[in-house]
Amino acid sequence: MPQAQVTMDVRKVRDGVSVIDIKGELTAFAEGVLMSAYDEASDGGVRAIILNFEGLEYMNSSGIGLLVTLLIRVNREKQKLLTYGLSDHYRSIFQITRLDDAISIYDTETEALRAANKA
């Protein structure tokens, strides 16, 4: 089985807000890495998770499936999921798959943090 070509670093940027920096490829093989990152990010009563996609290099349709699964977990915990750093290409994928109906997209970390604080 191929290894996940992705790293996800977690930063606790403010009280109740965590950022996951995604670098590499978001495919089915990234499931374990993403869910571990989410567990670490949501530790300690976090109310908003921000995904940083600036380092995203490749995503296939399984990657979209992973984001849906993550979103269901986030909703179950009554948290909010936000993103920033999507290129035009990945923004277009969020639109056609209609992930943008449920996951708020921002241009910068500052904007995402501002929105997360309102959550």
């Binding site: 089985m1 995203l56 290099e57 490749y58 995503m59 296939n60 349709s61 399984s62 979209i64 499936g65 849906v68 699964t69 979103l71 269901i72 290129s87 035009d88 290409h89 990945y90 277009s92 994928i93 639109q95 056609i96 798959t97 209609r98 992930l99 109906d101 449920a102």
Partner: protein, 251 residues
């Protein structure tokens, strides 16, 4: 002070490796080519509907069949794309566009569920050498994605897989799936995998893993029933004689 336009390398974003594999975003779906025998209903002008937009419980279902060591994953997916319609059961007719299974292309579906017509379609959302994914439009029985793929397992065997991540689109479909539709759907995808395997001379059982990803019903999407393709297909079929008479009178 006059501002210089930014250098091109600063404004143009580098295209990622997956750019050619994804369908482009469109607000409303458009069916460009319709095979003469296909009924194009419930697709044109609809929006795509993913796993977040439906009504029912969200299920991930994974079907697998072992194809042995005599064929590569790339070869399996190439054949699968080419013969996608042929591998379907007789009551489930798929009409790909002339371009075939390529990102952004539509596949019309004229199906029959327990004798009831369902005219709908799907868009090819993603396609590369080892997998392709179709996404449903509003009104389709399901709301979500089906990914058809092949890979080599740790023993070096090629495995063909169908993975669906979808929920029933509205309360009528949800009831239908709980009563019989779910079993019927599992029969369809099992048939597809068995047909694919038979093409490569393999006769193995199909395994199925089911996970309920989200057991909740999305009551905020109850209005999806307005676009129900099954109801609209039935109205279309029942009104066919009337349309024929109207057509004759207009001559």
């Amino acid at each position: 002070m006059e501002q210089k336009p930014p250098a091109e390398e600063h404004t143009a974003q580098k295209q990622p490796r997956d750019a050619a594999y994804w369908a482009r975003h469109v607000e409303k779906l458009k069916v460009s080519e319709v095979p003469a025998e296909a009924i194009n209903l419930n697709v044109e002008g609809r929006r795509t509907a993913g796993a977040l937009q439906g009504f029912g419980q969200l299920w991930q279902k994974t079907y697998r069949i072992y194809l042995g060591t005599g064929v590569t994953p790339e070869e399996v997916v190439r054949v699968w794309k080419e013969k996608f319609s042929e591998f379907q059961p007789p009551q489930n007719r798929f009409y790909p566009s002339l371009a075939g299974v390529k990102p952004g292309e539509m596949l019309l579906i004229n199906a029959s569920m327990k004798g009831m017509p369902v005219y709908t379609g799907v868009i090819v959302l993603y396609a590369d050498e080892e997998c392709f994914t179709v996404m449903t439009p509003e009104g389709h029985p399901e709301s979500g994605w089906n990914t058809f793929s092949a890979y080599q397992n740790e023993e070096g065997h090629t495995v063909a897989q169908i993975q669906s991540l979808a929920r029933a689109n509205d309360p009528i479909y949800e009831m239908g799936f709980r009563l019989a539709g779910s079993t019927e759907q599992e029969r369809i995808w099992t048939h597809v995998l068995k047909s694919l395997a038979a093409h490569f001379g393999v006769d193995d059982p199909v395994s199925l893993e089911k996970v309920c990803v989200d057991p909740r019903l999305q009551w905020s999407n109850v209005g999806n029933v307005w676009n129900n393709a099954s109801v609209r297909s039935m109205i279309y079929a029942v009104s066919a004689p009337g349309r024929r008479i109207f057509g004759l009178l207009r001559r």
